[in-house]
Subunit: 128 residues, 2 copies
């Protein structure tokens, strides 16, 4: 039900993006797209990802020590960032979100709405 056009660029970008399982930044998606389709511009990749994130079709993550990362999975889950290389992966864990929200006492008149747990760790490669 989108009033948006279904362009070739959009198909290609999301085709390639959805096959990347490393929570890539927009730049990383552009690299991957550019390899096979050098005529698709950087701006288009950035625009398409930002648009999809705004529409809630994908997630835009801000994590420690890295640029914005995009995530195909929009349902509530958590992440780990490698402290060495910045690689990102999903973390399977069951966390009672509402218990967290209720148990928390924010300062200065804030109201809490959502929570996200970010783990820091090491990836396989960087552990040596």
């Amino acid at each position: 039900m989108s009033n948006k056009r279904n362009t070739i660029q959009k198909q290609i970008v999301f085709e390639i993006f959805s096959k990347m399982n490393n929570h890539p930044s927009a730049g990383m998606v552009f690299e991957a797209v550019n390899e096979k389709y050098p005529n698709i511009s950087r701006a288009t990749v950035f625009r398409l990802l930002a648009e999809a994130a705004d529409e809630g079709k994908i997630l835009r993550l801000k994590l420690n020590n890295s640029n914005d990362r995009y995530d195909v999975t929009t349902c509530h889950h958590h992440h780990v960032v490698c402290r060495e290389c910045g690689a990102v992966a999903d973390v399977d864990i069951i966390i009672d979100d509402s218990a967290l929200l209720e148990g928390a006492a924010p300062h200065e008149g804030f109201t809490l709405e959502k929570s996200h747990v970010e783990f820091v760790g090491v990836c396989d490669k960087c552990r040596n």
Copy 2:
């Protein structure tokens, strides 16, 4: 026991930074410093904060929808970001860190080391 020099700029920057309780970005610290001490350069403020963060004396946070924020408090605690204006505040909550780390199953060979809970919410001003 630092082999670093104790310069006037360093004293001033951290004097002012430690009085800001809004988890400021480097730019915000510079603004505050610049108001009273216009002869201290932006680069110096950025360098001093980055250096202190590298030494573990302060925290460098990357949170949703904002630049890097610095935090005087280095002990383990959690944060909330206003979804409207990006303001940051501490959140008091007791979370069993090791239980989190043990209960979590990271993908792709990651080892977890630390956790940080980031809440999204609204601040007093933006709630209207």
